[in-house]
Symmetry: C2
Subunit: 324 residues, 2 copies
DNA sequence: TAGGTTTACTCAAACGTTTGAGCTAATTTC
DNA sequence: GAAATTAGCTCAAACGTTTGAGTAAACCTA
């Protein structure tokens, strides 16, 4: 393993000088500079980050905590985080905290603390009180995507408004019996907010609320199938289904397909997220697009700029494809 | 920032003892042990990994290099790598190397070398000669998933055999005019191998090869759409399409849907990978399942066990759903 | 009870880098 | 031409941990 000492010896200087050259710190003349750089290159010198981090007390590492990669929106976020980080010469430490697994989340935080990451980006991670306290105690800036974490900045769309606009979008297209599907009542964030927006839009249009048209679920494909089965088994069908995720919307499409229900002819389906599946499914999903790439990029930039004062609301957009 | 020195002072011992206790190294009595552990807990002590890594000369970090997360199989692999790593108290350093971007791949390797990762798992990454040489020079074990990297172990399915079996699977179901779609001729690995297997199966069944039935592409949804358009525009249709990826198969389904071609009635579609989209698409894809989770798990285990002698061929499986 | 062994520690060096302070010789300033 | 400044280096400490070698006391053993 080649160190700056080796380079120093060959160049006839001390390690200090080598360090200053390699870090472009100034205080050397051009001749020694080129000499040192040549030697370093020829020896395939690689800085030992551990040593460097030890004295710097930080790590140019950003921690990314996600629940798992199954949630279809993790990928685009990670992609943009990685790309942005790459451009800034920052590395990504990835950790999964599972779903509602406080012990594992705690492990993730420990890991981040141990590595002295300069910031944490959490994606759709719900913090329990214990971990929230612990997070304060380790004193690492955190920025949360998709959900709010108390006392920490977040980057999200306005879920209430988005659900409202999406519902209104359907109403404007003359759908009246609109179901909301695969939302999680127990989710204080996304779930409740989207239900609120949905109700608000109906009220504004003077459409009476039918509680049976709100079907619980967990954002998954299966939840979509189940909800569709429930809604489309009698003969009092809704004319539009607004799903809380694209996966769930795909589930609705799947059920409709197997039961020969024409989409969008007999039934309109509206998704949420604009994840990979939205374009792949047939008919392609009209959906509420979340700007995942933008969110990932912003998160990295904010951490690097130590700009963690306030929450950011990013714009959503209703993307028209073929399912409405 | 609390260090072992702080703990040592409070416990009335030296840092050495604290270190040994915290690492369960033996050589202390139970009383000091519990005392030290209590103090550590109450101070929220977090080991400084940088310092630890510096003396250990490694990092209990595993590097994962992927091209990007868009390729639908990256997610399940990363998931299982993360889970396995979590169980072994290992962390994941994630890096994207882009597609055929030697400079960025080089950056990734530098990064891994600098962090002194104990091993690299590369997912579907093709190494150019320069980077291959560089990899040798930094002397970090690498295990490659999905493609072979010269002089390094890989974990893959037998692509030739898989394509052969999949084609035979179609032949046995009385399909005769079978197209192979979205394969990359220029890809010396996956592309060529799958073409080889396909041809072999046709030859064995004494079906003459029609070169027009092999349609180039890049495994993407769009490639699938394009191929379908090309194949299904005249009137001499194939009766089955074997796509080189589930995304491409979804593209075929999409084209078929919009042009009212019944699948599997008029046309059978066979996918490859069994990625997330395979189950979500309608009709659900019959596909060649790659054991991604298993592959990720194996990769981590092999790196940890320093068992990098030979290539591993993992079993694939033809998963029957509704598209054939 | 003398000898040896074990237990429970301490000491100090080491890992590779960074960085403020110090030093010398060359250059500038008035 | 003496004094002040600057360029280009060196010195040595520091970061927090680990670990082999050393040591003193306690415990065996015959």
């Amino acid at each position: 393993m080649v160190t700056i000492k080796d380079i120093a010896k060959l160049a006839g200087v001390t390690p200090s000088t080598v360090s200053r050259v390699l870090n472009h710190a100034g205080g050397y003349n051009d001749k020694t500079k080129t000499k040192i750089e040549q030697i370093a290159a020829s020896l395939h010198y690689q800085k030992n980050e551990a040593a460097s981090n030890l004295v710097a007390k930080t790590s140019n590492l950003i921690g990314v905590i996600i629940t798992d990669s199954k949630s279809s929106f993790a990928s685009p976020i990670i992609d943009s985080v990685e790309d942005t980080a790459y451009a800034h010469d920052i590395r990504i430490l990835l950790a999964h905290c599972g779903l509602n697994d406080p012990k594992r989340l705690r492990f993730c935080l420990d890991l981040m603390a141990g590595q002295k990451v300069s910031g944490i980006i959490s994606v759709a991670v719900q913090f329990d009180d214990d971990n929230l306290n612990y997070l304060e105690s380790i004193n690492i800036p955190l920025i949360s995507l998709n959900v709010t974490v108390p006392h920490h900045p977040s980057i999200e769309i306005d879920d209430v408004q988005a659900a409202h606009d999406a519902t209104t979008f359907l109403i404007n297209r003359h759908y009246r019996k609109i179901a909301l599907v695969a939302v999680d009542h127990s989710d204080p964030q996304t779930g409740i907010k989207r239900i609120t927006g949905y109700k608000k839009a109906l009220a504004e249009a003077h459409i009476s609320l039918d509680p049976d048209l709100i079907v619980k679920g967990d954002f998954s494909f299966e939840a979509g199938v189940k909800a569709a089965k429930h809604l489309l088994s009698g003969d009092d069908w809704p004319d539009a289904i607004f799903a809380a995720s694209d996966d769930a919307a795909a589930g609705v499409l799947s059920y409709a397909y197997t039961h020969h229900i024409k989409v969008p002819g007999k039934l309109a389906v509206l998704g949420f997220d604009d994840s990979h599946v939205a374009q792949i499914v047939t008919p392609a999903l009209t959906t509420v697009k979340q700007p995942f790439s933008e969110m990932g990029r912003l998160a990295v930039q904010k951490i690097m700029a130590h700009d963690l004062a306030e929450n950011v609301t990013v714009p959503y957009e209703i993307l028209t494809r073929d399912s409405v």
